[in-house]
Amino acid sequence: MAIVTGSRRTRKLEAALVYLALALLAAAFLFPLLWVLGLSLKTRPQIFSNPPLYLWWPTLEHYLDVLSRADFLRAFLNTLIVSASAVLLSLGVGVPAAYAFARFPFRGSAFLFFGLLVMRMLPPIAVLVPMYVLFTRLGLATTRLSVVLAYTTFSLPLVVWIMRGFFEDLPKELEESAWIDGATRTAAFWRVVLPLARPGMVASSILCLQLAWNDFLFAAVLTNNATQTLPVLMAGFSGGDSGVDWGAMTASGMLVILPVIVFSFMAQRHLVAGLSSGSVKG
């Protein structure tokens, strides 16, 4: 709903003001990230130079250093394994349920469905306290499996919510003609519906991957040095203030967020649906 009013001159002035406001906002929003990106490309003396350097010849030394560290690479691999497993598990479990919710509502389906929403929205720390105790007793604590299971508390609801919306938008005639041709519901779901729902599965995978990649709390409690993920490794940098290696910290930080920014832009169209648990369509 953009409404055009006023003469040409006032419109031009207004456009200039809008651009100015947006440019200032964008500068303010991006500044922290750009400044830290700059720090990561400075040598150690340049990082601590007073007054700060605004122009310098960038160096990749911190990136090369970080990428040769075993703990960073292990955390990177752990994050990848844990996030991807959580996404696969949630898709496998959640997609058939989302289809049933969309097509064959049953007694109690609304209750179960909103139960999933509540699961996504309750504070993770509240689930984590008993989960830690139970996982410790089961011998699961500090394993990657425990983190994957913990991540389903947010990724399963996300998959079900987004996929239900996708299935509802698919024309029902496609399955109906398959049923008439003698296909069972399983066969029609598998051969007719699922291939059409592929874009939705990609979108929900990316959104889950983003949440899992960024999670700190579950991983901080449920992992040890061998199984820790990148956000946990990053938090370790903030320990002793004076001893912080700014170069390694900023370079690792940039490497951690690079993949997630790429995923997020890939799923830009679905971000709104994902972040509002499907209550607003983008």
């Binding site: 929003f29 922290p32 720090l39 919710f101 720390i125 399963l156 956000p231 990053m234 938090a235 832009f265």
Partner: protein, 312 residues
């Protein structure tokens, strides 16, 4: 379900027995489709959510320590809850959580609405600005918080360089809380802006055009046309942000750890410290359940709102 389980109408041309058998098998198969499709989700919900929460409810009424059997805790009634309600740090964290949530959500809504209105202008290059403005919400929260920590560093931070002083921003209660608030606003305003932008794009254009023809000013149009139409989206953004700020943790953990002098001790941080630093899981469970009840109330409001909207 009803239709698929109904018996076949008789009196029609009798199909071959094999086909009858095939159809009957298909029907009984179809009857099981929905339960089987939902069962795994139900099981996972029970395992990672239902059972842990029940166990935590049990823990909150016992005095339990890690060395005891899982169900070996001694029943203590409401003692854990009483301890919490007598603990000044917990009571303080209640106030900080509510104040922090309200202040963060208010700023996010105001700024997010402004950004959404600007991005909704019919001008070239809006996509580029939109892309630039949503970057903060994509950044891993813990990394975003660490970036800000470096900017605010007392001796080498760029902010202190600019103002020429050595302020320990995260070392004083007032500025620490303000800094944590600022980082949350920076991180989550883009969420609000995106939701409201989606709302603005979906609004019908006729009411605005009619008001423009009637000579309404920009401000009048915003107040009397756009804002009322946008209300459902504002409400969704308000509720979602309230639910998510209420559980704020990552930024605070990385920037202040709840300090200085408990000035940034939100409920999540309190529960974390009680459970995983003091290892008092019973008290942690009681604190969790207080948080759960409050969040469930907020979720109920949210669900009621979106169900009512979807019903219309």
């Amino acid at each position: 379900m009803g239709e698929s389980s109904r018996a076949a109408p008789h009196g029609l041309a009798i199909p071959a027995p094999a086909r009858i058998a095939g159809r009957a098998a298909r029907r009984s198969h179809d009857r099981w489709f929905t339960p089987l499709a939902v069962l795994p989700t139900f099981v996972v919900m029970l395992l990672v959510f239902g059972l842990p929460l029940l166990f935590s409810l049990y823990l909150s009424f016992t005095g339990w320590s890690l060395s005891q059997d899982l169900l070996g805790g001694e029943f203590v009634g409401w003692a854990n809850y009483q301890d919490l309600l007598e603990d000044p740090v917990f009571l303080g964290s209640l106030g900080i959580t509510f104040g922090f949530t309200a202040a963060a959500v208010a700023a996010q809504l105001g700024l997010g609405l402004g950004i959404a209105l600007l991005l909704n202008m019919d001008l070239p290059h809006m996509r580029a600005f939109r892309t630039a403005l949503i970057v903060p919400m994509m950044i891993t929260p813990i990394v975003g918080a660490l970036c800000w920590k470096l900017l605010l560093d007392p001796s080498h931070g760029v902010f202190n360089h600019w103002i020429g002083e050595r302020i320990v921003w995260l070392g004083m209660p007032g500025t620490a809380l303000a800094a944590v608030w600022l980082v949350n606003v920076w991180h989550s305003t883009p969420y609000v802006a995106l939701i409201l932008l989606a709302g603005l794009r979906s609004l019908p254009s006729e009411p605005g055009e009619a008001a423009a023809i009637d000579g309404a000013s920009r401000l009048q149009m915003f107040r009397h046309v756009t804002l009322p139409l946008l209300r459902p989206y504002l409400l969704v953004a308000l509720l979602l942000r309230t639910i998510f700020e209420f559980r704020a943790f990552d930024n605070i953990y990385a920037m202040t750890g709840g300090g200085p002098a408990n000035s940034t001790m939100v409920l999540s941080m309190f529960t974390y410290l009680v459970s995983f630093v003091r290892f008092d899981f019973s008290l942690g469970a009681a604190a969790s359940w207080m948080m759960l009840v409050m969040s469930m109330l907020m979720c109920l409001v949210f669900i009621t709102v979106i169900r009512r909207r979807d019903a219309n």
